[in-house]
Symmetry: D2
Subunit: 142 residues, 4 copies
């Protein structure tokens, strides 16, 4: 299953189809795509700080959804926004107030459902701050 | 295990300790607390709309964390912000652009970990839009 | 959504269709069914003891699958064996070497997927030993 | 964090401490251990067949627990049996009636909790039949 969209094609598609979610102020960026996987980034934003000084869980969930959608698009081509059906997240370490980098890996991609896991690190760190497993329902037409 | 903080005491505590998370613009409110449970509300906000017209998953995750924290506080009294260690969410139905109402139920509350489930409905509906199971680590001093 | 199969009809169906899983030595029994839910029992068996003296996690997973299948059958009538697609279990307390009683509750039952949660208690206890959320894929023909 | 027990030491420890779980008839074997990970095997047994002809979910859960325990032991040395606190499993493909091979990877190993993920394949296949994320509570003395 080769990659069918480049980073540039993915960015253009996302800017056009989901301007509410993917725009310059979102802080979201695509770093690389490969067979059934990708690496994406969430730039640090003060609004993501949670009481206590770490980056909030909902921020990580948003980044997870973005990474899985990018990995699905890169594998199957332009499809409408996938809908999360299940998401399980383990918070492993405190997330410092820095960029987050997420790597998604598709474990199974069927016609209707895609399941994968996502490892989220603080920029420059090797030990993950969170690990997520998630399933998405893929709409059938654009 | 009786309730040890009233809704008014909870609101006062949250406003003072977590003004970043619980303030008039957050749209969060506590409706009722009972033994090991509570009902909370997230007022509809346009910023919670996800591409596709439904309410975003991260919004529901934020509401879940709020409801579990309120249920823990009502059970054990004022403790510092609990930290989510695991969260598993099933998205069951499209969430209409309306208020969300969440009911939390503590399944186990130990000295260091609390586990519960949260059922989230669109305001006025009986069928849940999401169901969450979650575990929190409870800090030991305020 | 009324109950469409009685306990007796369910037992007869399961004995005929799944003699490997539901037979006198399995220790499994159906106690009651109601709208979108049921209560089932796993009789204590020495083979379910885990190193350490408690009842094993796999035994609870087997009981969960049984309870969800019974709840689905009671709601939609005889369908072939549902296939688990996701299961999330939290172990809350030590399970004494006694019967286990599980209550299943369907949170959503669609044409192809059913999601529910299951609360498992040691017989005679009120505090659960485990809580499970699970999704099943429902085959379309018998 | 280097490996502190070899495969031979692990097998000897498990045979002595957990003869009920790890014995010749269990079909369980350790293939390799490495820094914060391992590969283990469950030999095919007819009793693991589920109605429908695939290998049962509880069998995979048992294999998951075994693999995580081996990975923890190899990392921290002989500790009493870890207790599963949370387990989330996604079933990805039908498991053929063959040996199962599981690779565990520790994502975080603290003093009291260890979290990891486990990928389970049918022997000789590359695409996983199941993926698991799991957390264990580590007892403090042997």
């Amino acid at each position: 299953m080769p990659v069918v969209m480049t980073v540039e094609e993915l960015e253009r598609f996302l800017r056009r189809e989901f301007p509410q979610g993917f725009h310059p102020d979102s802080g979201l960026g695509i770093e690389a795509v490969w067979e059934r996987g990708c690496r994406v980034r969430q730039a640090f934003r003060h609004s993501s700080i949670r009481p206590g000084g770490t980056i909030s869980g909902p921020t990580m969930m948003g980044l997870t959804d973005f990474s899985m959608y990018v990995a699905i698009l890169a594998s199957v081509g332009p499809v409408p926004l996938a809908v999360t059906t299940n998401l399980n997240i383990n918070f492993l370490r405190k997330a410092a107030p820095r960029d987050l980098v997420a790597e998604a890996r598709l474990l199974r991609i069927g016609k209707r459902l895609a399941t994968g896991d996502v490892t989220i690190c603080s920029d420059g760190e090797k030990e993950p701050v969170a690990h997520v497993t998630s399933t998405y329902s893929i709409p059938t037409v654009l």
